[in-house]
Symmetry: C2
Subunit: 188 residues, 2 copies
DNA sequence: GACATGTGAGTAGTCAACCACACTATTGCG
DNA sequence: CGCAATAGTGTGGTTGACTACTCACATGTC
């Protein structure tokens, strides 16, 4: 039965948590863990700050959960890329995963949260744990699905790291020799 | 003539600014632009917060200056490495510069400010300008002194980016397959 | 006397976290 | 079925601590 007009409709807390995790990526993207207020996150999710604090114990846990969510998305994109790879050599699979990742980060918010997570990892223990665990899963997944060597995997993630740096500093939109050097062959 | 005992000795404002730029690297390292207070920076430099604001117009200019200082140090380390290179091939020179850089970041503070600068670059215009300019100089310097190709230079900076990520998340101290994969051959 | 170096004591505003309370759904029971 | 008790969803308003930035004033230097 559909609810009467004008009355409030309640969802489940779990639904709301999902909403928050999705919208908070956009909220944290610009100024990261320290520079983003919990009010901004709540507003982005369309809930009150008070309720945000009922969904997550504190700001640290909230951000760590958002970071975990970002890693999940990346892992999913790896899987999609690997599934669509033309060929089964490590090179072909890694190349396809890189392409899927490049597609994923067309929305730059995710990339920036990734960067901010690295920064917060320095001094926020729960975030550091999330980043380490996220990377661990990413590396092992990439290894298992591609069968690449340590060197190939390292190169793969090094290019990802460079890509992140280039985009956060805005070099991908600059037309100068130094920027072209960094951008060469990068599919952001 | 040495000043009388117990009286205050004044330096020049320029000296103080230098002090601040050096000590502020340590202050900003842990929590970055948004997470570090100007009081902390002043305390690290041994001056009052009020005087800090006479030396720098605002927090943004202060942090941008600190970032510029970090890039200067990196450039110096590149020069030292290049000077000590055994051989003049691009590979040899880049390898030597990488080694000097690895030596420089034995003090992890510099590396972390570098990371935080990337993050702040997303939303703080003056910092973004400092990062772009710093990278531009770094890339062009590395190119001119090594004579490397775009591909070689890109690989060089990609490994630097990976190194930064690994250290900020603490993976260089972890003994697990995924961490070893990322660390392979990295001289942090 | 003129100017530079340097500080204590603010101010107006912001932030994370909390609490009392209102509203909605579900369940138990006669 | 009726209806009260219970549990879950959601918010306005507050608080105490903190933050970037300022100003009047003191001290040292030429």
């Amino acid at each position: 039965m559909s609810p009467a007009r004008g009355t409030r409709v309640l969802g489940t807390a779990e639904d709301r948590r999902e909403d928050v995790l999705s919208t908070a990526i956009g909220a944290f993207a610009a100024r990261g863990y320290f520079g983003t207020t919990t009010v901004e996150v709540a507003k982005a999710a369309g809930i009150s700050q008070a309720y945000l604090y009922r969904l997550f114990p504190d700001k640290e846990a909230l951000f760590a959960a958002v970071v975990g969510r970002c890693f999940d998305r990346i892992r999913e994109s790896f899987a999609a890329g690997a599934a669509a790879a033309t060929g089964s050599s490590p090179e072909a699979v890694l190349w396809a995963m890189g392409g899927a990742y490049a597609e994923l980060i067309r929305d730059e918010h995710l990339l920036m949260v990734q960067m901010h997570a690295q920064c917060a990892a320095v001094s926020v223990s729960e975030v550091r744990r999330a980043v380490q665990q996220g990377y661990a899963r990413l590396v092992e997944y990439a290894r298992s699905v591609s069968g690449g060597t340590d060197e190939q995997l390292q190169e793969f993630f090094a290019r990802g790291a460079l890509c992140t740096e280039v985009v956060t500093m805005g070099a991908h939109a600059i037309d100068a020799p130094w920027a072209r050097t960094l951008n060469t062959g990068l599919r952001h």
